[in-house]
Every structure is written in C-alpha cells, then in structure tokens.
Subunit: 399 residues, 2 copies
C-alpha cells in the first residue's frame, strides 16, 4: 500500500497499488487575525517549561517574541529562549537546543517563526530525548522513538511545516541538507495569525509562494494515475497563490496574508498528495543541495530549479502538463508537449514578476559546482532514483 508523504519512508513497500493510501494529520490549527494572543493557553496543556525557539531578526524586533513569552507566562508556562536559528537551520543549533532543553528541564518546544524555526524545534524535540547522534534520524539510520511536544506560532508562511511531520536540517560539516520524517514531530497546535506576517519582506513572501507551489506541483506531476480530486486540490492551491500575488504590492493586507498562509499549510499537509507516490520531490531534493552549499533562500533556489525540472519531466510525460496549462492558465494547444512547456514558461514568468531569481547564475552559483550538486542530489536519501547526468542537464538549463 502506498502512503502519504508524511509517514516514514521505510514503511513503503515496493509495489504501487492504485490510489491506496493512509491519511491522518492530528495537528490542531488555530487560524485568524489575533490568534497569536491565545498561544499561551493553547500551549499550556502540553507542558510547564518551554524552550522557545526563534530567529534573530524581526520576530524579536516587532515584539512578537515578547508577546508569546508573556502569554506563556500568563498561562503558567515557564520559558527560556533559543534565538539563533538560521534561515537554513543547522545541526549544531539542534544540538545546542537539545542541551538547553536538558539543562532547563523543558518538557515542550514552542516555535515562533517560519519553517526553519519549526523544523529546528521539531529536531530539538527529538534530540532532547536522545543520547545518540541526532543526524542518524536524517540519514535514516534510526527512526525517532519519542519526542517532546511542539507548539508553533507561525510568522512566515511557505514551508507548510506547521501541519506536517517533516524537519529539514543542514549538517554544516558535511554540506548535507536532509529531511527527518516522523509522526512524532507533528505539532500539537499551530497558531496561524496572518497579522504576524504583514512585515514579511516582499522577497521572502515570494519565496514562500514559490515553495508552496512547488510542494503541490512536484507531487502533481509524479505520474500517478486516477487522482482527479487530489489534482483539483493541488490546482486550487496553485491558483490561489497565483491570484494572491497582489500581496507583493499590498504587504499589509491581512486577508491576503491569511489566504497565502492557509494555501501553504494545506499544500504540504498530506491531502494534495494522498495516494500519490512517495518520491517525486525531486526539485526539492536538488534544491536542498544548492541551499546546503550556498547562501540561497530555499524558495529562490526552487524558482530556478523547479520550472527547469518540470520542463525535463514534461518532455517525458507531457499529458498531465497539458492538463495543468489548460486548467491553470487557459492554454490549449493541439500538442500536449507544446501546451505543457508553454504553461511552465508562464509559471516561470510569474516567479520572475514576483522578483524571484529564475536562474542559478543570478544567485551566484558557480557553473563549475553543478556537477557536484547533481552527484550530491543522487546520493541524498531521497535522490537514489535520480540520474546525475539528467540532473546536471536540468541544472545547466537553469544556470
């Protein structure tokens, strides 16, 4: 039986049965303007001592962190703060967090931030209760057996980490950026308060939009037949993001912030993927090798890699791309390949209009590094099926 993406990969047997899947997602979403004020009361049932994980920047500057700490305090939850989480969170930060948890006696994690912060909190939640090498869970040597509860206050949308069981961490010593997947790291509660997002800069807003679209499209094009409803849901996410691009001109529009946040949450909660294959997160797999090595925002890396990867797939199996081009952009051609390629081209043009770099050159990725990146993608836990030569072709095409 095939399973949705949030379950551990090793549970997956080889055969592909038509549309069989498991779906369950226990995360409690509390969504709405002002909902962050409830973070303390929402977190209190899960613990008395919280490690609050956050970034360095705006979360502090805008007073969001102070408000969450105050809300926790008022709900009787003591807290201490780990505030150095990088945009591509590092393994050393996970170790640091796990150590603080033990010293402080934390019995839960509260993540205040975006996907990087939540991913880091999830990894700490596992690491705090583990005496071994935490990286084992990312290389899939071991599966987590227990984890502290995680509560999220989302401040920037895109990764969908607030409603899934994934954590992406970079091992800075080995240049590996890998994924831990375990039902144990589903957040207990995720607060999605669009008012917290109004100050997210245009660039990172666009990064989140590209990431959201990638999350659904990489699965959408995985070749699984007979998924009409999943297709409609995925298309709905893409259309909603495309139709919300006005946010880049009106960053303080709380309604649009909310729409984009919800699209991003649903994009990777397992629903749009139910019954699809487990693999086929290939543009992500390739991009992670780029942002593991270079100071590139994940969404920006995807804006270059993902359309190029889709063009590569479209040449192999154009029919689904024609469906995409027709339904999303109203492009209808007698040749499926032609329609599909035109659709991808229009999508890339949207990314460019949003201010995204759509070539690796614009992001200062050295052309000489492409071969190494292709090899690394092939060697990564999710990349075994990738042909390094094909990946190199794709990287060269979007360089």
């Amino acid at each position: 039986m095939r399973r949705a993406s949030f379950l551990p990969m090793r549970d997956l047997p080889e055969e592909r049965v038509m549309n069989s899947f498991e779906f369950s997602n226990p995360v409690r979403i509390v969504f709405g303007p002002g909902s962050a004020s409830k973070a303390g009361a929402l977190a209190a049932p899960y613990g008395r001592k919280a490690l609050v994980v956050t970034t360095r920047g705006s979360v502090k500057r805008l007073g969001i962190l102070d408000k969450v700490i105050k809300a926790l305090d008022e709900a009787g939850v003591q807290s201490t703060v780990l505030s150095g989480v990088d945009p591509n969170p590092r393994l050393k930060t996970v170790y640091e967090g796990a150590k603080i948890c033990r010293e402080f006696g934390a019995d839960m994690l509260v993540a205040v931030g975006g996907g990087s912060v939540i991913d880091c909190a999830k990894a700490i939640a596992v690491g705090a209760l583990d005496d071994g090498d935490i990286w084992d869970f990312f290389t899939q040597k071991r599966q987590p057996q227990r984890a502290l509860p995680v509560v999220c206050v989302l401040t920037i949308s895109g990764t969908g980490s607030e409603m899934n069981a994934n954590s992406v961490i970079t091992n800075e010593e080995t240049d590996q950026k890998y994924v831990l997947r375990s039902p144990l790291v589903y957040p207990k509660v995720s607060v999605i308060d669009p008012e917290l997002m109004v100050s997210v800069p245009k660039y990172f807003t666009a990064c989140g939009m590209v990431d959201t679209i990638s999350h659904v499209l990489e699965k959408y094009f995985d070749g699984t037949p007979d998924t009409p409803l999943q297709d409609r849901m995925a298309e709905g996410v893409v259309q909603t993001v495309l139709e919300s691009a006005e946010i880049l001109k009106r960053p303080e529009d709380v309604t649009l912030r909310g729409v984009l946040a919800w699209a991003s949450t649903l994009a990777l909660c397992g629903l749009c993927d139910a019954g699809r294959g487990m693999g086929a997160f290939d543009a992500h797999t390739i991009e992670l090798e780029i942002s593991a090595r270079y100071d590139v925002a994940h969404g920006a890396g995807l804006a270059a890699v993902q359309p190029a990867w889709l063009e590569h797939l479209c040449r192999k199996r154009p029919e689904k791309f024609a469906q995409f081009a027709g339904r999303i952009f109203g492009i209808h051609r007698s040749s499926a390949l032609e329609a599909g390629l035109e659709g991808i081209s229009v999508l890339r043009e949207q990314y460019r209009k949003w201010g995204m770099p759509v070539t690796l050159r614009e992001m200062n990725i050295p052309k000489e590094s492409l071969g190494e990146i292709a090899q690394a993608a092939h060697k990564s836990p999710r990349g075994g099926h990738l042909d390094p030569d094909e990946v190199l072709d794709v990287l060269t095409a979007c360089w």
Copy 2:
C-alpha cells in the same frame, strides 16, 4: 472566532471575524482496494470486545460482515452484531445498541456500512456510557462527556460520516431528525475500501453523489467573504463528482468508486468549510424534516430541495452563483443572476440524468404537508434563522 463545522455549535460566539477558524481532524483514513482485510488489525488497538453495527441487507448478503467479524476475531477482538439499522437510523436502535454494549461489555463500536450505520454507531458510542436520555445530545440540552471508540468500514459513500464528528438520528416518536456533534465521536480509524462499493445500486450511488455536492455547496454559498482556497476545494469536489458520473453506467469500476468515496469523505471533513459560517446547512435542515416523515432517501430529498434552495439564495446574492456557474459549467453571462440560475438549472439537470427525483411530487410528498415541514425546519436546532414562509416558498417551488 468562527469555527469549522465539526465543533459543537454552542462554542460559537456571535461575532463573525474574517476567516478565523479552528481546524483539526484526527481520523485515520486507510483507503484502497482490499483495505477492508486490515479492519481487524486496525481496530484491535482500541478494544477487545466490539459491538459490530450494520444494516440488514447487502452487507450480510455479500459476505462483507462475515469477513469483518473474521478479521476482528483473528486480531483477538470478540464481537457481537446489531444488524437492524435503518437507512434513516432510529433512536430506538441507538437505545437497543447501548443496551447490548452494556450487556456484552463492549469497549468499542465497529460500524460496517454507510452513513446511517456510522451515525448509529457514533450515537451508541455515546449512549453506552450515559444513563440519561440520549436524545438530549441531539436537542443540545447536554453535550457528551465521553464515548466508546468507533472504527468504520465504509460500504457506501456520500454522507462523509467516516471523517467527521456528526451523527444524524431520527426520533421516531417525535418525527425529529437531529444532529449530534461532538469531537468525541470522530472515528478512530475509517477503512475506505472501494471494492466493497461496487454493488451499491445506481439509485443509492446517485443519492451519495447528490449528498456530497450538497455538503460543499450549502457552505460554499453561505456568504462568507475571502475564502478563495476553500472555494477552489469545494469546486474541486463538485467537479470531481460530476466528472465521475460514468459510475452509473459502470458500477463495478473500482477506481471511480474510490474517487467518489474520497470526494465524499473530504466534502464534509471540515476542510472545505474552514472559516465559513456555522449555519447555512439549510437545504439539509429542510430535507431532514422530509426524510424524518416520509420514506425518502436523504440524497433524493436533497436532489429536489437543494437546487430550489440555491435558487432562493441566488436571487438574494447572485455573485457567488455566477462564480460557480462560470467555474463549474463554463457559463458566463452579463447578469450574475442569470448566470447563477442557469448554473443551478444545469446542476438539477445532472441530478435528473442520474435518475434522481428532482421534485417532491415524484417522491409522493403530499402538498398539504409542506407547511408543517417548513414550520418543523424553523423549529429544529439548526433552523432558528429560517423564515418558515421562505422555506414554504422553496418547498412549493420544488414540489
């Protein structure tokens, strides 16, 4: 803050804040051809003694019931059977089931059937642990405090009961057909095996399709602004059902059965409604008063009432109906009202093509009873906002 529909109604405060909601749905779905064979292993973690609830008819005849009992037995779960559940399940059956649970010492319910059976099992799950009048939970005098776990094996799709916290029961003494809503009655696991559905007759297949469409459309048209993604998801459900109508010619198509079942499950799991108002299940509220009184399948009653109710709403707020007509049927007119009414008319025509009665007259509902039905709808727990005169107009229009 507004909440998704599966939460108890009384939690809802008066003010309507833009798009605020809570979403969580803990049901574990195990979907796929052949998945029913796992029912025993899936149920075993929840209890050792199960009351198996089912209908009289095909579930027994086709051997499905025997297979489930055998699977439970092999997983070490003892069981006894309550097999008399009617299509519109009765309160007396709930009492009977609760009594058997106590005598047998059941610690869980296993529902083998469609929405009626699952709804009945949910009510028994609450009733078995309650010494008072179970009907209190339906009239909302009391809220359930505990319930036995429920595991479902779905054999006919449409109601969505397998992934929500609702139970609809008819009180045959008072002619009331009311809804219990409590997070306690979410099924723990629901097995959706499309192979079990291939023998569902054309008529009841069509009933399920109409019910599914009603579940999303009644909310879709509730007037809540700023729900673009929820709209896309609702439209995706409607489109998927419309595009799967071929099932009525190829009833044994397991793939199409699966597609329809998944559409029906997602239609009422809270996702398509997240952030919409709590009310606006008005066509349902009205129809329940019909099928409480007359021997009418719920979906058939809806095939008449729902388009008429939508026409009534369309005359008040045509814009959203124009969106619906345009996106679902490609109908674009300069007048929103004209487009909307044309869209509803095409929808009704689909129902008719599927073999559904689309007038109350065809279902032998006496015209003289319409006034009483309208009054009863107004007096029902969810109907207080309904104007009996308006309801009577709608009923007369679709008589």
